[in-house]
């Protein structure tokens, strides 16, 4: 720029908008510290390895940055493209206030609440979250959240192992392959055996727990009660991996005998975001409290009555039962988790509070009705069937006149992202089938477009 002449500002400015100290500031500070320059501060570093050649793209100003990433975002499929993928991530209608409130910077820019007196916002909303999760799952206690449903389920298995002193896990198929995979990852460290079972009968006294997904990976609603009984008869815990949204309609796993309930909260906090930030829900029965992983918020009071007011100590919230945790218990901690997903938990909580009991129920029913209506309309198309494995919630299998992979490809050509190809799965209903998800948030226009496309494909073949 040719503004050198211009006296709008002094030279020797700060190196970057994110770094306030100017050259003058730096000089003053260096002198006080007693070193010649910044490099001198790094004298301890091995000389021969210092300041290596590093190849990074050039720095961008904010307008350039926004332009570049707007372009990138546009290189993804347009959000308006019909997309019937579910399989663990579902588009939900999120109240506008959830993101509004969760983006209050006092929440966003705070750390884990180590100083409760100035972190009551985070702590009290964490306590609200725990309360909501307990109500939904029918459990006694919950933590403030873990990374995602899969790692939360893995932690549940480790808890069961600590509690039962057993070394094997039973996962009831169909379960989300991602969940099963993460459980195996965590199990390897602990040297556990992971048995994938197709029936609860396979549960034995070797198993620390039976893990059941609700609804299961193919969308079917499980009857948890008998499964809990089998598990308990074998001295194993029942771990239910439940969709918190479906729980607006379905029986609380706690009421069906589950000992631990995990779930994924991301979709009730905001958009799918390519899978993350996610939110692992973790709730359990009271007997398991001291074995629980993660942070827990507890209620307490002031030590001293405030100067003003009625002289009664006031109610506040703190992180509690921390002797379970890594920073105190270290290698004997119940888990290594430290940073989790607090802000996502806050948005999840607002959504639940905004919907309230009736709203959540109505929303889940709407989802159920819309999904079943779409399935019905597809099922009557010549050449299509929607094989069922029992009562289901929002996901259904579609078998078409052409092989699953081809159906997928042909829909893609027509600008529609179809369901997940599950044709390789063992379940007979999954043979040559795609797994479609339709929710309360799937636009009618997308469903109509899908039906049209399916009919056309049916016609061609």
């Amino acid at each position: 720029m040719t503004s050198s002449s211009f006296a709008g500002s002094s030279p020797g400015g700060s190196p970057h908008p994110y770094i306030p100290a100017t050259e003058a500031d730096q000089a003053r500070m260096l002198e006080r510290v007693g070193v010649a320059d910044l490099d001198a501060l790094f004298a301890d570093l091995p000389a021969d390895l210092r300041d290596p050649a590093i190849d990074l793209p050039p720095a961008l100003t904010e307008p350039e940055l926004i332009a570049l990433l707007t372009e990138r975002a546009a290189a993804n499929a347009a959000p308006s493209r019909p997309n019937f993928l579910g399989a663990g991530a579902y588009r939900r209608s999120i109240p506008a206030i959830s993101s509004h409130l969760a983006s209050r910077s006092e929440f966003v820019t705070a750390y884990t609440p180590y100083q409760p007196e100035i972190s009551q916002g985070t702590l009290q909303s964490g306590f609200e979250f725990q309360s909501v999760v307990c109500e939904l799952t029918g459990m006694d206690v919950a933590n403030v959240g873990l990374y995602d449903v899969a790692s939360a389920t893995a932690e549940a298995c480790l808890l069961a192992v600590r509690f039962t002193k057993r070394q094997a896990l039973a996962l009831l198929e169909p379960i989300h392959p991602g969940t099963a995979d993460v459980v195996s990852t965590y199990a390897r460290g602990a040297g556990l055996r992971v048995d994938s079972v197709t029936s609860a009968d396979a549960v034995s006294d070797e198993h620390a727990c039976l893990v059941v997904q609700q609804p299961d990976f193919l969308g079917t609603i499980a009857d948890l009660e008998p499964l809990a009984n089998v598990a308990h008869d074998n001295g194993a815990l029942l771990v239910a991996v439940a969709d918190p949204f479906a729980l607006g309609l379905l029986k609380a796993p706690g009421d069906a005998g589950a000992d631990i309930v995990t779930g994924e909260g991301r979709d009730l906090a905001g958009a799918p975001a390519f899978g993350g930030p996610s939110l692992g829900l973790f709730a359990a029965g009271l007997p398991y409290l001291r074995q629980m992983p993660g942070r827990i918020v507890g209620r307490t009071r002031e030590l001293h009555a405030p100067e003003h007011g009625d002289g009664e100590p006031r109610t506040g919230y703190v992180l509690t039962l921390q002797t379970r945790e890594q920073f105190i218990r270290r290698e004997r901690a119940t888990s290594n988790v430290s940073t989790a997903q607090a802000l996502i938990a806050l948005a999840f909580t607002v959504t639940m509070q905004a919907l309230g009991p009736r709203g959540l129920r109505e929303s889940a029913e709407l989802c159920y009705q819309r999904a079943h209506d779409a399935a019905r309309r597809i099922g009557v198309l010549p050449g299509y069937e929607t094989p069922e494995r029992g009562p289901w919630f929002q996901e259904f299998l579609v078998r078409g006149p052409v092989p699953a992979a081809e159906l997928n490809a042909r829909l893609a050509e027509r600008g529609i992202t179809a369901g997940l190809d599950v044709s390789a799965r063992p379940e007979p209903e999954a043979r040559e089938a795609l797994l479609f998800a339709v929710t309360e948030a799937t636009p009618d226009a997308h469903i109509d477009a899908l039906l049209e496309a399916l009919a056309a494909i049916g016609g061609e073949s």
């Binding site: 190196p15 970057h16 990138r72 884990t112 609200e128 309360s131 991602g178 507890g298 006031r314």
Partner: protein, 493 residues
């Protein structure tokens, strides 16, 4: 004359469940006009649900009030040692919320998510350059999960070398963050603690003594939690490799050395980073974070799934390394956080990142000299990104604990530093200003701490009862743990 404070309501006593009224709601749900499908059999359904019932305006006010009872970086200086609470650029939030990114479905075909995948690929390349470790998985959701990934990768490598049975120990300095030993244990190893030498670095003699064929790895934090450079770490690396063990870097403090020295060049085999610290992504009151795990070519086959790969066809894909330890999450990690970190890397560039580490270190040393003499400084040498003082003198002479000093700092308008960590410093005050604090703020923080040291002499009891000006007074943490109340209940309220 001090007036009645009519408004000192017991805010915390009333949760959302106690607010509003039955029949209120904050949103309506569309009604279904199509054919009714009968619901599943009633024994599968719930017949009741307790959730709050508030109007939209009430709910908005409740959380707005809650936010006013919270302190964030945007509220003021937040010098939590080890946590690197730097300014979180707002443009990064804007970018992560672009619909094209936010609405992407994790199962969508690669052709439909190249915008995200290419961006993540560039982030991965940048991190490889910055760490000197060529291979990376961005999957870990936070530092601790990155640690677990790293240790499990070492497990797999040892297994392939047929040495897993024999190498059951992991050496961890006594100054390490709790997640290090906890992770080692989660991965099935036993932990041996390494003492810290007088100069604040690892005690070389012990390391040499402990290193044998039973050691799987050594986990070292560089710079360490005293804010000090781990002297001679590059030689230690050789010893460790000669002993057949792996060297793990806890890279949570990368911000101190970005652009100045690289874990790979120092001889580390694997490292995790905390992008929610070094790369400015907001901490959200406890997450989400992102803890990428970076490694040498030797360990690359074991990286967690997924990793990014660019094909001949120019498409970026998510793939599983051949001997992967497996997945850490159902999907691909905290992508929204990774996008923010990428934006941060691009906003700074190499010179910017070097300016970050340079100013971060200068700020910590500036604070060190400003406070020198007012508080004990157990390891009295130039520091890198943070400085660890001790309140032991105040405790000894005035019976004022670091806990009291921290609480009093709240009255002075600051978030307290990290306290009682690292464990090897008694009454530790671990202070990390970060590069985004202006010198005035550091001076004000020093003045406040000096003023408190004086208050400790004049009026220790006043400190014992601090904070006085916070939204709520000092809370009874013991009672909370003794009789846990962990959820709302009708009766309780």
């Amino acid at each position: 004359m001090s007036p009645p404070r009519p408004n000192s309501e017991d805010f915390g006593a009333r949760l959302s469940f106690d607010r509003g009224a039955p029949g209120r709601r904050a949103v309506d749900v569309p009604s279904w006009s199509g054919d009714e499908t009968p619901l599943p059999d009633s024994h599968l359904l719930r017949d009741t649900l307790r959730l709050p019932e508030m109007s939209q305006g009430e709910l908005v006010r409740y959380y707005t009030a809650l936010s006013a009872r919270n302190y964030g970086i945007d509220s003021g200086t937040y010098p939590l040692g080890s946590c690197t609470m730097k300014y979180n650029p707002k443009v990064n939030d804007l970018i992560a919320s672009l619909p094209g990114f936010a609405e992407a479905h994790p199962q969508s075909p690669v052709e439909e998510t190249q915008g995200t995948l290419r961006t993540l690929m560039e982030l991965r390349r940048g991190l490889a350059e910055i760490t000197g470790l060529p291979e990376i998985s961005l999957a870990p959701a936070a530092g601790a999960q990155g640690e677990l990934a790293g240790v499990l990768m070492i497990t797999s490598a040892l297994e392939d070398r047929g040495e897993l049975e024999q190498r059951r120990r992991i050496l961890v300095p006594d100054s390490a963050h709790g997640t290090n030993p906890a992770t080692a244990a989660m991965a099935g190893f036993t932990v041996t603690h390494l003492p810290t030498a007088a100069d604040g670095s690892l005690d070389r003699a012990t390391v040499e003594r402990e290193l044998d064929e039973t050691v799987a790895a050594v986990m070292v934090t560089v710079p360490n939690t005293l804010g000090l450079w781990e002297r001679g770490i590059e030689e230690v690396a050789e010893l460790i490799h000669e002993a057949g063990a792996y060297l793990y870097a806890d890279g949570a403090n990368l911000n101190a050395i970005m652009g100045r020295v690289r874990y790979g060049d120092l001889g580390f085999d694997v490292a995790h980073l905390n992008l929610h610290k070094s790369f400015s992504t907001p901490h959200g009151g406890g997450g989400p974070g992102a803890g990428p795990v970076c490694c040498t070519d030797e360990l690359a086959p074991y990286l967690p799934t997924p990793v990014l790969e660019e094909g001949e066809d120019g498409l970026v894909r998510l793939v599983a390394p051949e001997r992967s330890i497996g997945r850490l999450q159902q999907f691909h990690g905290n992508v929204g956080v990774l996008l923010r970190a990428y934006a941060y890397m691009r906003a700074l560039g190499l010179d910017g990142l070097r300016a970050v580490s340079g100013q971060a270190v200068l700020n910590a040393n500036y604070l060190r000299v400003l406070l020198h003499g007012h508080y004990d400084l157990p390891y009295d040498r130039p520091v890198l990104h943070e400085v660890v003082f001790s309140g032991s003198r105040q405790r000894r002479e005035q019976g004022v604990r670091t806990y009291d000093i921290a609480k009093r700092l709240i009255d002075h308008g600051f978030h307290p530093p990290t306290v009682y960590f690292p464990l090897i410093v008694e009454e530790a005050l671990m202070i990390e200003p970060t590069e985004t604090e202006p010198p005035e703020a550091i001076e004000a923080l020093a003045e406040a701490l000096i003023a408190i040291a004086e208050e400790a002499e004049q009026d220790p009891d006043m400190l014992h009862r601090a904070p006085w000006t916070a939204p709520i007074g000092r809370l009874d943490e013991t009672a909370a743990a003794r009789r846990p109340v962990l959820r709302w209940q009708e009766d309780v309220d």
